[in-house]
Structures are given as structure tokens and as C-alpha cells.
Subunit: 159 residues, 2 copies
């Protein structure tokens, strides 16, 4: 681990705010989705919006917990939620838990390596970037679902 006198590209706080900004947008996407179609609508054999959002929930806090605690957990995607309200309540709990866990990660840890969920190897920073990128990716797919349903999604650039 090199300690260098430098100007950071981004700070730990920047990266947390960036992720939470994306999470706020994803929350608005969930809110915008019609209740029934959230659990039933898909395109081209893809997963429903609820299944995509389950994946994001399965990754965010459990992934960050492994980073903060240097622990290992299995990926568990199945939730028994049957309403958007349950997703939104969980989303808000997780937003707070992400802030709590983030504070436990010292700066020097971001360049260390980890194997999340017992199988995905990389640096800490690249693991966190993967969580965020994967959220952007699946949320964008839900944007297409909303457009196909004739509903205007929230603006991508509003965080």
C-alpha cells in the first residue's frame, strides 16, 4: 500500500454521496412504477422490475457489509415482498445502513483486494463501483419498461 502526498481524484465522502444520489434516483423509479406491473411486467424474457430491484437490495448492504467487516456472505436474492411499499421501506433502511457501514471503511482500504459473496474478486473500489454501475444498468432497463408502459421516468440527471 503506497501512501502518497496527492490530490485525490475523489474522496471517500464524494463516492458515498455519488452512490446515495443514484440510490435516490432509483427510489424515485420504484415510486413511478405502477404497483401491479412492478411485479409482472417484462420485455424480451427479462426479469420484472421487482426482481431487478431485489438484486440491487441483495448486493448493496450485504456487499458493503463484507467490505466494512472483512466478512463473507452468500448472495441471497429472494425477498418475499409483495408490495412496492415494502421495497421502499427496505430501500430507506438500507440507505441509512450504507451510511453507517461506509463510516467504518478507512481510506487506505479502497485499494485493498476482496472476494465479495465468496466469488467476485477485485479491489474494494472496483467492487463498490460494480455495485453502483449494476444499479445504473438495471434501473435503466426499468426505464425502458416504464416507457413501454407509457410512463415518463424520473430525469436521469436529477440526483
Amino acid at each position: 500500500m503506497n501512501t502518497t502526498e496527492s490530490n485525490p481524484v475523489i474522496t471517500s465522502e464524494d463516492l458515498l454521496m455519488h452512490w446515495q444520489g443514484h440510490r435516490g434516483l432509483t427510489r424515485r423509479l420504484i415510486e413511478a412504477f405502477p404497483e401491479k406491473e412492478f411485479f409482472t411486467f417484462n420485455i424480451g424474457g427479462m426479469r420484472t422490475c421487482s426482481a431487478l430491484m431485489q438484486e440491487l437490495i441483495a448486493i448493496a448492504v450485504p456487499g458493503l457489509r463484507q467490505i466494512a467487516m472483512s466478512s463473507t456472505e452468500e448472495l441471497k436474492e429472494h425477498l418475499n415482498y409483495t408490495s412496492k411499499a415494502e421495497f421502499l421501506a427496505r430501500w430507506d433502511e438500507d440507505t441509512k445502513e450504507i451510511n453507517r457501514l461506509w463510516a467504518l471503511i478507512p481510506d487506505e482500504k479502497f485499494q485493498e483486494r476482496i472476494k465479495t459473496f465468496g466469488q467476485y474478486e477485485g479491489t474494494i473500489w472496483s467492487s463498490i463501483f460494480y455495485f453502483v454501475d449494476n444499479e445504473i444498468h438495471h434501473r435503466a432497463q426499468a426505464y425502458v419498461y416504464l416507457r413501454a408502459l407509457g410512463i415518463e421516468p424520473p430525469h436521469f440527471w436529477e440526483r
Copy 2:
């Protein structure tokens, strides 16, 4: 601008490699798209894949040039390309140009502020993150188009 003795969350080189990894995936998405549908297919009144990729091209090099050169350019989205081959050739040129421009950005610049395309204000790092996030967002929409066309997209996790 604070100069701190610290371990960076990510280095400038990390961020370039991260973006270029995403660009490689977007290139494979363009390759996977059928020629005719690239210019004609859409869902829910959204733009075609060629229009989405035009936007990415309009942002990447011109945006980074403004960052590297501290210059201002207008956003010009219109390209007269009529084949995927022209998009792919431009993509490859831009990949090299991004590497060239990136080398001109000193580390201390990432926390400075800029107004790209004369209108989008933020830090340099957040502007670059926006370019990458916007690429992930629109590429994911093209993933749904491909699935709707019965074609399996490239794996999201392969960079």
C-alpha cells in the same frame, strides 16, 4: 485545493481503465446489434440505438477535451453515419483520443469545477462520472432492445 497525505480511493489511471472497460463493453453491444435495427428499432417512443450511441460519442471526447484543455464546446449530437462500421471506427478513434487527453489532466484538477458544454456545472470528477454513468444508462437501454429482438447481449460483468 487541499493537498493531503492520503491513500487514494481510486487513482486517475484506475478511473481511465474503468471507463475504457465500459467503452469496450459498449463496443461489443454495438457489434451485437443487427445492422438494420441499429438505425430503426425502438421501444416506447425512445431513441434508436444509433441515436443513443451518437449521444455517447457527442459527450465522450468533446467533454473530455473541455476538461483537458479548459475550453468550451457546444453539444453536437448529429452524425451522418449510416452504418455500424462507421460507428465502430469512430469508437476506436475516440478510445485512443481519450487516452491521449487523459494524460493531460493532472491529479489536482479532478476536484476543480467546470461547466461542460457551456451548461453542465460540477467538479471534473463528477463530470467524468456523469459521462460514464450516462454510457451505462443508455447501453442498458440498448440491452433491452437486443433482448426484445431475441438477441443475447454481451455479459455486463465482462470488461
